[in-house]
């Protein structure tokens, strides 16, 4: 269940992101992740742990949306791309070459955040300035 630790890392990043908007607390609707097929992450488990972790926090109700990025290899023999599979021992079907270069599939990325900010409070007259003028 390393998805728990991954969620903790994700929350740390989200907290840092929130700081950029301080003092306002953004209301987050969705967090978009890109997770490569050639990683040790189970997207369903990540969504589950996220749902538990954000309960009662400023992120409560925010949805975790995971886009799976397929594994794509490049055959260094003919430079063509292919989908490596365990059944084919990850070799390229074109030239029977081992999996040398991975083009995509190793992603573990926080892509973007959908959110809204509360309306700023109506501006109030600056009392300190008024006081200074009166003095």
């Amino acid at each position: 269940m390393h998805e728990v630790d991954m969620t903790k890392c994700l929350l740390l990043s989200m907290n840092q992101w929130q700081q950029q908007h301080a003092p306002a607390i953004p209301s987050v609707q969705r967090v978009h992740l890109q997770v490569g097929a050639f990683t040790c992450v189970e997207p369903d488990q990540l969504v589950f742990t996220w749902g538990v972790a954000v309960q009662g926090s400023w992120l409560a109700g925010a949805e975790l949306v995971i886009e799976t990025v397929p594994l794509l290899g490049r055959c260094l023999q003919c430079n063509g791309t292919y989908t490596p599979s365990p059944e084919a021992a990850y070799r390229s079907p074109c030239c029977d070459h081992p999996m040398e270069e991975i083009v995509s599939g190793r992603e573990l990325r926080i892509r973007s955040v959908d959110y809204s900010l509360p309306e700023p409070p109506p501006s109030r007259p600056d009392l300190s300035l008024t006081a200074a003028a009166a003095a």
């Binding site: 269940m1 390393h2 630790d5 991954m6 903790k8 890392c9 994700l10 740390l12 990043s13 992101w17 953004p26 209301s27 609707q29 992740l33 997770v35 050639f38 990683t39 040790c40 992450v41 365990p86 021992a89 990850y90 070799r91 081992p98 999996m99 040398e100 991975i102 573990l108 990325r109 926080i110 892509r111 973007s112 955040v113 959908d114 959110y115 809204s116 900010l117 509360p118 309306e119």
Partner: protein, 247 residues
Amino acid sequence: MHMPLEDTLGLNLLAANQHQAQHNREHFDAWQLLCLNVMSSPGAGKTSLLERSLAALAPEFAMAVLEGDMTTLLDAERLEAVGVPVVPITTGRACHLDAAMVRGGLRILGQRLDPASLDLLWVENVGNLVCPAEFEIGEHRKVALLSVTEGDDKPLKYPVMFREADCVVITKVDLLPYLPVQVERIEAHIHQVNPRCAVFQVSASTGAGLEAWHGWLRQQRSAVSSAAAALAVESLEAAAPEPVLVP
């Protein structure tokens, strides 16, 4: 009325861990030591290999072990018997070490000795072929162990671990005569997911193959220390005052 907004982050999911790992690596480089992250499934023989390698390399290298896969104190006693300091890392029930846990282990190690006096720091990870593969700890090299009793399909079933490894040590090769396993197939499968990976066949029981594995370690050690030395020279040059041009 709330305005819908979108921020593009493009940040690694494990950025928090990577940040700490980078911090650890900066320390390792400043101490000019080689840090190895040793990973395998439980029972592949990490402690047995360490026991042999620590004994063999102790005359030439100052070493220490951060022990993340310790179920009993017996492991630590076995390793300490060689005269190498061992620091247990409390992992709770975690399935892997992360960079912050290693940082905690380094603090304890620092109370016992000056890390700058070390040449080699071994980190024995939790026995697991999945989780440790994704969590950097600041290591210079990842070493994966695979025992011949685990079967030849493991590199294909746990490809991320064997892809990420800089070196795979195939252990327990003394058992090959008794197993329906071809070590050539294990090696071929490792190279199919990681063509440039160094692979060694060893037996901690008989000592077979250990010399080649130790040769690789010596190479990595000198590669890392010369890289660290080059970095030190660079920073010295950067710190040096600008030459004054006399007209």
